[in-house]
């Protein structure tokens, strides 16, 4: 059942929130031992929330909908680990804004999902608690970093999950798991309570089975939040109404630079099929160019680690989480961080520290910011000609566990198509669009200008319709 179906069925009395929850919990019990989508299932709290919906005490647009939360979203009194040893035992004293809004809308939180440690990775293999597996083929990765959330929706553990997307971390796992994943415009959804990876890039968004469910969830979680200074001072956009609108005359650009080298043939073919489908529905489809997009990956791997090196400084053993003692305060901090962080996190902290160092700042961080400006300009220019842009989401379908863990650069290449939208701050989403030669899901990415969620959802809904 989709979230919209659940809301309607619970409201009409056809079923109860408790019955819906039971079905999902049963599926989790049956299969999560194998898949490991969840770090924690909050069964008791979920039952209490579902009962409150059934008693009429909790209402709202998501009343009775089970939801899984990426384990880097703060939940009051419930462990929030970021899949890192260093946060072991920490229970936030507050809810993230998105969590408060979901609860206020009647959603039932079923648990916290696995991720690459501190959201750093593209396969969920960098979790301190072990990898998540792809529900379509458990020998393969679900993508990452929000792999647990993508797998949870794909496996039917929850119709909705939230993830965070710093460099493709919602869209790439959505593509690999065959579900819808949305990265909203930077500032559209409050980051308050999202444990920061790279503050200028992080954005929270939904995983769902359908485009309409994604629209429903985004309407609930988006909108201005005074607790986040980078939150855009606007109400949440109205998206559900846009879904039925025709794409007749819509100007669609297929980004040349994101269909080149490194994109698997089957993925390219599905992207072209998506373009053809939109054309068949009346859209004007042409080739588009975003020249600076090819530098996105390089710029990202300076900006994101730089911000991360600062954001992750606070895990020093002084106030919360793990502490490994040492003879001096400095020794204690060093021992704590050495023991608490995994290899990829350490790699990025070192990269970022270097990029910000005196004498290197201009050559690395400063230059990367200039590239970022170029990417923003190139997108702006493209959006003068096109309403939306199209590309693959991920260069390949899901790859086997362990295939890229020894080669960080090969792993980083997974995000070549998704990263440009994080750098520009524009919205982008991945729609499942058939399967590749291996029978695994392929995702197609729809991108739109800042605050262009409505037109993005319009195109996404048309793609979804073209498959049915």
């Amino acid at each position: 059942m989709t979230a919209r179906e659940i809301v309607a069925a619970v409201q009409s009395g056809e079923t109860t929130a408790t019955a819906v929850l039971d079905e999902h919990l049963a599926r989790i019990r049956e299969r999560d031992g194998e898949l490991h989508a969840f770090n924690l299932v909050t069964e008791d709290a979920a039952r209490a929330d579902a009962a409150a919906v059934d008693a009429g005490d909790r209402t709202g647009p998501l009343a009775g909908v089970p939801i899984a939360l990426k384990d880097n979203l703060c939940t009051r009194g419930v462990p929030t680990t970021c899949s890192s040893r260093i946060l072991e035992g920490w229970k936030p004293p507050y809810d993230a804004t998105v969590v408060s809004r979901l609860r206020a809308a009647g959603a039932v939180v079923v648990g916290k999902t696995n991720l690459d440690e501190f959201a750093m990775g593209s396969s969920t293999e960098n979790s301190a608690f072990g990898p998540t597996r792809n529900p379509h083929d458990p020998s393969r990765v679900p993508g990452g970093s929000s792999g647990g959330s993508a797998a949870a929706v794909a496996a039917g553990f929850a119709p909705v999950a939230l993830g965070s997307d710093t460099g493709g971390s919602i869209r790439q796992p959505a593509a690999l798991c065959g579900v819808v994943g949305v990265k909203p415009t930077y500032g559209a959804v409050s980051r308050y309570g999202l444990v920061a990876f790279a503050s200028s890039l992080d954005q929270i968004g939904p995983f769902t089975q359908t485009v309409a469910d994604a629209a429903l969830v985004l309407e609930v979680i988006a909108g201005h939040d005074p607790m986040d200074s980078t939150s855009i001072d606007r109400p949440a956009p109205s998206l559900l109404d846009a879904l039925e609108e025709s794409v007749d005359g819509l100007r669609v650009g297929v980004v040349r630079e994101l269909l080149g080298e490194g994109i698997a043939d089957d993925v390219r073919r599905r992207t072209e099929a998506a373009a053809d489908a939109l054309a068949a529905a009346g859209a004007k489809v042409e080739e588009a160019s975003v020249p600076a997009a090819i530098y996105g990956l390089s710029a990202y791997y300076l900006i994101a680690p730089a911000e991360a090196s600062s954001n992750l400084a606070r895990y020093d053993g002084v106030r919360y989480g793990v502490r490994v003692d040492g003879p001096t305060t400095g020794d204690m901090m060093e021992a704590t961080r050495t023991a608490g962080f995994g290899a990829e996190v350490k790699r990025r902290i070192m990269l970022g520290t270097y990029a910000l160092s005196a004498g290197y700042y201009d050559a690395y961080y400063g230059k990367a910011q200039q590239v970022r400006t170029l990417i923003i300009r190139d997108f702006q220019a493209a959006y003068e000609q096109f309403d939306v842009l199209l590309s693959p989401t991920s260069p390949t379908t899901a790859f086997p566990l362990g295939a890229k863990t020894e080669d960080p650069l090969a792993m980083y290449m997974n995000d070549v198509c998704t990263i440009p939208s994080n750098l520009s701050g524009d919205p982008a989403m991945s729609i499942p669009y058939g399967t590749g030669d291996d029978g695994l899901p392929v995702g197609v990415q729809v991108m739109a200008p800042a605050l262009g969620e409505q037109v993005m959802f319009r195109a996404a809904a048309a793609l979804e319709r073209s498959l049915s």
Partner: protein, 465 residues
């Protein structure tokens, strides 16, 4: 200062802004609360928390900037990264290359002025207490941290290296403190740490380029500041004269030992890896806001001194303004009081306004000027006016301060002349010193009721001059 040398001093003053709440969250900005009671996820830097800039802090910072004659500019915040346990995020949110206030000046009472390079905003850290062992961060048994101060808004006022003596440094800090108080930007209490001073000191021979500077920290009073500058300048001169080089470093003032001690060398100082704080947006105050802040500016000390000098010239002007008594004196002059007497009393005999009104102060000064009260009597009446208020003439009457008539005074003076013929001979010979002797004796005999001027006049007549 040793001849042939001069000091070059720049001061960095941190002042806590007198806001209701902290700079990035809604916790109270309050001194002396129970440890760790004014804290929340934001000022504790808990994972996921985000800062939101306090409008009142910005307003106070801008008001101070305007009072210092700075340009108030669009600004941004940076992160200053270093590990320290009392800093919850292990970075400090501060302003770096685009501060809110730039390029100002403070005019001192002695006519000199000191340039202000910048006055920027930043957040304060928590406070560590090291318990047991050696009592310092690296040898204590335990460290306790109070995060109440973490996130308290600070303004850091950085002077240009225009200061050339410890006296001028003292005058600068006093003047800056007066401006902080006058603008309401800070309560500027050094003893509570809401105003803290670091001094950059170097020495050179006149005409030579700037010498290597040392930054002196841990200056907890004006007295420490003066002593530390004097000590440090002497130390650097000794180093140079013995053929060595001054090392650029941070030095800590040891109040008990009366000396500065080497901290860590700046060359091996940490790289703070400044970068723009991505969790905050640029601060771009519009003209309307700037206008409102400017309109609300109170009159500043330099202008107050100028105003008072125009009405009552005298050495007490600076002190009277510093004590905030200038309005009282000006109002009393307006009410018909004697400017000279009023200024002198405000300088020496009034520590607080109390029940003293401009009208009673003016009336007192007239009684004195008219010879109806002596200076000593006036001081006594003034004390009562401050304490209880009332009519100075009536208070004088109640105390029996009726001015003596001249014939009574003459007979007392004549009696004293008869008793002290030697002194009278000296007076006739033109020795002015004995005037004081006779006046003192008259005062003693009359219990201070005699008018000093009248006594001098009688003595002059008797001496035949």
């Amino acid at each position: 200062m040793k001849p042939g040398w001069e000091m070059v001093i720049g001061l960095e003053v941190h002042a806590e802004l007198a806001t209701e709440t902290k700079i990035f969250c809604g916790c109270r900005n309050q001194f002396g609360a129970e440890p760790n009671t004014n804290i929340c996820p934001v000022c504790l830097g808990l994972p996921g928390s985000l800062p939101v800039l306090n409008e009142q802090a910005v307003e106070l910072a801008m008001r101070l900037g305007m009072a210092l004659g700075c340009r108030v500019e669009p600004s941004i915040f940076h992160r200053k990264n270093y590990f320290y346990p009392d800093m919850p995020k292990d970075y400090q949110v501060s302003q770096y290359d685009r501060p809110v206030n730039v390029d100002g000046r403070i005019d001192l009472a002695d006519g000199t002025s000191v340039g202000i390079e910048r006055a920027h905003m930043e957040e304060d850290t928590g406070k560590s207490t090291h318990v047991g062992g050696g009592g310092r961060i690296n040898d204590a048994e335990r460290s306790l941290i109070d995060y109440n101060r973490a996130g308290v808004p600070l303004v850091e006022i950085v002077s240009r290296p225009d200061i050339t003596s410890s006296e001028q440094a003292k005058a600068y800090v006093n003047e800056l403190r007066a401006i902080l108080l006058a603008t309401g930007a800070s309560d500027a209490k050094m003893e509570e740490g809401s105003m803290r001073v670091d001094a950059n000191v170097s020495v050179r021979r006149p005409g030579e380029p700037l010498g290597t500077r040392c930054e002196i920290k841990n200056l907890n009073s004006i007295r420490s500041l003066v002593r530390a500058i004097e000590y440090e300048a002497e130390r650097q001169i000794d180093v140079i004269e013995s053929g060595e080089r001054v090392i650029q470093e941070t030095r800590h003032w040891d109040e008990a030992g009366g000396r500065t001690r080497s901290g860590r060398s700046k060359e091996e100082a940490e790289d703070y890896r400044y970068f723009p704080e991505p969790d905050l947006v640029p601060l771009e105050p519009d003209d309307a806001w700037l206008g409102r802040v400017r309109d609300a500016l109170l009159m500043l000390p330099a202008a107050r001194r100028e105003r008072l000098s125009a009405a009552a010239a005298g050495t007490g002007v600076a002190l009277v303004v510093e004590r905030g008594l200038d309005d009282l004196v000006l109002d009393a002059i307006e009410a018909g009081g004697d400017p000279g007497r009023l200024l002198t009393h405000a300088e020496h005999n009034v520590l607080e306004v109390g029940a003293l009104t401009p009208a009673s102060f003016a009336a007192l000064s007239r009684l004195e000027k008219d010879g109806k009260l002596t200076a000593t009597q006036a001081k006594t009446v003034l004390a009562e006016l401050v304490e209880k208020g009332g009519d100075p003439a009536e208070i004088a009457k109640a105390k029996g301060f009726e001015a003596m008539d001249d014939s009574a005074l003459e007979s007392i003076v004549d009696g004293l002349i008869a008793e002290n013929p030697d002194a009278f001979e000296k007076l006739k010979a033109g020795d002015k010193k004995v005037v004081g002797f006779f006046t003192g004796a008259v005062m003693k005999a009359t219990q201070g009721k005699a008018n000093g001027g009248a006594v001098a006049k009688i003595l002059q007549q008797r001496a035949g001059g």
